[in-house]
């Protein structure tokens, strides 16, 4: 074989055998969640948030200490993002996450990214495979736009679907993370490990640049204004009111935290399917179960443990990811969302 032909053949073999772009990142194609605007509309709504790419640095080598050690730094009412996976529990204090927004971690041998957007009050977990997620410095509807370090595709956190780059239109594999208080989390998971302030970066972890959750003040107050333009708004709730939202391929639904606390269990229909939203009073969050047969959930028989909700006729019902969000952001992403406030019949 001629020398140049041999080089070309070698190159061809290398190109054909190399993994596809983004193979390191587990994705869902097509995504299993609603995408209510076109990708082009999302791309046009992207704004600079101020910081440069990685100007808000993700934590890529997280360190952890015990719940006992964390007690010296956290008050029971301080907010954390919790993750429980395969028998391991970890807590990520909001006061650290507000400066980094993404922790690229590994739990029980599974690489995960725990992400938090302070401007929309949303915490979501994703499988990250062999790559990492980073902060692009851009926002959509005030929400963090992440990028993956394998393909540089752009992923709005709330959407969980790439709007730009080689993986545009594909979804990320989501993990349930819990937005709760330190006191509630350590009561449920006393053996939890807690992210330390040794992040590799110097930040003032005693101060939140936007306000406070303990007690609530500044940007986090329900009636306070948003900073960036949004794709849709209606004023049905105060902008920063907290809702628990979930989405399916058929649409999106949200319940107010007040209604969920008051009722304990809420039955919602999204498209042709029914879902049970169950309040977990220990963590003050909700679990969403796909309930196609509208099985009656017996509130007094429900049990809550490390794995979530059980008992009360929930056996056999599959779990749907859900997360808390500021209302203005949820509505901007999902303008046709069903909203349940408890003072009305569920309506689209």
């Amino acid at each position: 074989m001629h020398g140049s032909h041999r080089i070309l053949a070698t190159l061809a073999v290398l190109l054909l055998s190399s993994p596809a772009a983004g193979a390191g990142l587990p994705t869902v194609d097509p995504p299993e969640v609603a995408v209510p605007h076109t990708l082009e509309a999302f791309r046009q709504a992207v704004r600079s948030g101020g910081p440069a790419k990685d100007g808000i640095p993700s934590i890529d080598r997280p360190r952890f200490h015990s719940a006992h050690a964390a007690d010296d730094l956290l008050e029971d009412g301080d907010r954390i993002v919790g993750l429980y996976l395969d028998g391991e529990a970890r807590a990520y204090p909001q006061r650290i996450l507000v400066w980094h927004e993404i922790v690229n971690d590994e739990l029980a041998g599974t690489p995960v990214s725990v992400t938090y957007c302070p401007l929309t009050g949303t915490a979501l977990g994703f499988h990250r495979g062999d790559t990492e997620l980073g902060v692009s410095g851009r926002l959509v509807n005030s929400n963090l736009v992440m990028y993956d370090r394998a393909t540089d595709s752009q992923w709005p956190q709330i959407l969980g679907v790439a709007i730009d780059g080689p993986l545009a239109g594909q979804g990320l594999e989501e993990l349930r993370v819990i937005w709760t208080t330190w006191g509630a989390w350590k009561a449920r998971y006393p053996e939890t490990r807690v992210l330390t302030q040794e992040t590799g970066h110097v930040r003032n972890y005693r101060r939140d640049p936007y306000g406070s959750y303990n007690p609530t003040s500044g940007y986090y107050l329900p009636e306070s204004g948003r900073l960036f333009p949004v794709m849709a708004k209606s004023g049905r709730l105060p902008p920063k009111a907290t809702v628990l939202g979930f989405r399916t391929e058929e649409g999106a639904a949200a319940v107010t935290t007040e209604a969920l606390r008051r009722q304990g269990v809420i039955d919602l229909a999204v498209g042709d399917n029914h879902y049970a939203v169950i309040h977990d009073s220990g963590l003050d969050t909700g679990w969403v179960l796909h309930n196609p047969q509208r099985t009656e959930i017996r509130l007094d028989e429900l049990q809550f443990g490390p794995e979530g909700v059980s008992g009360g006729s929930t056996e056999g019902l599959s779990s749907v990811n859900a997360y808390e969000a500021m209302w203005f952001a949820w509505e901007a992403f999902y303008p046709d969302t069903l909203l349940y406030r408890g003072d009305e019949e569920p309506r689209p």
Binding site: G55, V202, N204
Partner: protein, 183 residues
Amino acid sequence: MKPLRALWVILCHWPLGLGLVATVGLVYGGLYLWLIGDLGGGGTGGLHAVFPAWERVWETRGPFHFEPVGLIEAGPLVWTFSPINSLLAWGLGMLLGTNLTLGWRLRRASRACGWQASGSSFLSSLPALLAGGACCAPLALIWLGLPLAGALASLTPWLIPLAALLLLASLAYLTKVLASSVS
């Protein structure tokens, strides 16, 4: 070189002016660092300093915003210290202070001597004041929670160099007027 020499002579022989430049520079620099988040509350009362990240000295967090290399706690204050951010803060502060002090000096002199050009010399310090505030405006708006901050966020890369240019231009003008008034 004549205007610069005039500026040097004026400041060296005018302790009050020098004090004003230093005070404005210090206050402005502190405010700048507060607004970009390098200076804040949360201190536990003691005096404590660690510098664990010198390797990040040139890493940027955004346009003209650099990574801190150390953390200084003094009383109730916590200062995440970046040498470059500090130089920018106090450099702009000194420029603003010199502009305002010279503007004030020329205004006083104009009242005493009745110069024709003196009114404009005072007005020239206004852009300097606006420029000095402009570089922190988006940060201040975010801090105050005003929606305008989102629109201004994309302008931030331009505001700091623009502020420095305006302050330098204003200073050049003031020193020129000063030199001509001395001669």
